[in-house]
Symmetry: C2
Subunit: 103 residues, 2 copies
Amino acid sequence: MDETSALTAFAALSNESRLRVVKALVEAGPDGLSAGEIAERLGATPSRASFHLSALADAGLVTSTKQSRSVRYAVRFEAMGGLARYLLEDCCKGNATARSCCG
Amino acid sequence: MDETSALTAFAALSNESRLRVVKALVEAGPDGLSAGEIAERLGATPSRASFHLSALADAGLVTSTKQSRSVRYAVRFEAMGGLARYLLEDCCKGNATARSCCG
DNA sequence: AATATATTTCAAGAATCATTGAAATGAAAG
DNA sequence: CTTTCATTTCAATGATTCTTGAAATATATT
């Protein structure tokens, strides 16, 4: 994860709708959710959900796979962990206090 | 760390100038840097540096302490770790792939 | 007291981001 | 092949964020 990717990922997670999407996808498990299901849970228009899903996908935090006529989204845990690693190692240089979050 | 604080922290870190400030403060160690030194490293006007420093302080990611006529800023490692923890535990529910960043 | 230094605050404008609804795309069903 | 369903794209508008320079604040020095 380089600085540019980290900036994009932080920006993606700095929006309430998008953070809620990520949490819903984590809850949903490996099969994830379709764009429509996500829009419904968000109480958002399809267009609005699609906008936020694109931001998350561009940041590499979710995958999208087309299945017949719907699109399923799932969280990319390795990207989430990669961002946490960036925070702890690249930003904080492995500082012990910061790393205590790894418990 | 609640969701609102996490959103503010992600927003704070989603800006290149502010991410550079955090890295500079980590490099600088416990004594941190003055607002003027930070502005200089950033190649930014004092006003612009102050704007970004306020965002980082509001997010709880840095502390500011007035020392005679300058203001010293330092990184709050527990807040950085708290954000990483939020990412791994609250968002990812402790998922093992995400947590592998703790290596 | 007057001046210099360090920083913040403020107002204005530029740039970016988010929401909306309509139109476009594409895949399935009748 | 037309219609329906799921999603994305687009253009317009509104909202937020960023930058700039000037003015304000506060502390130190002469």
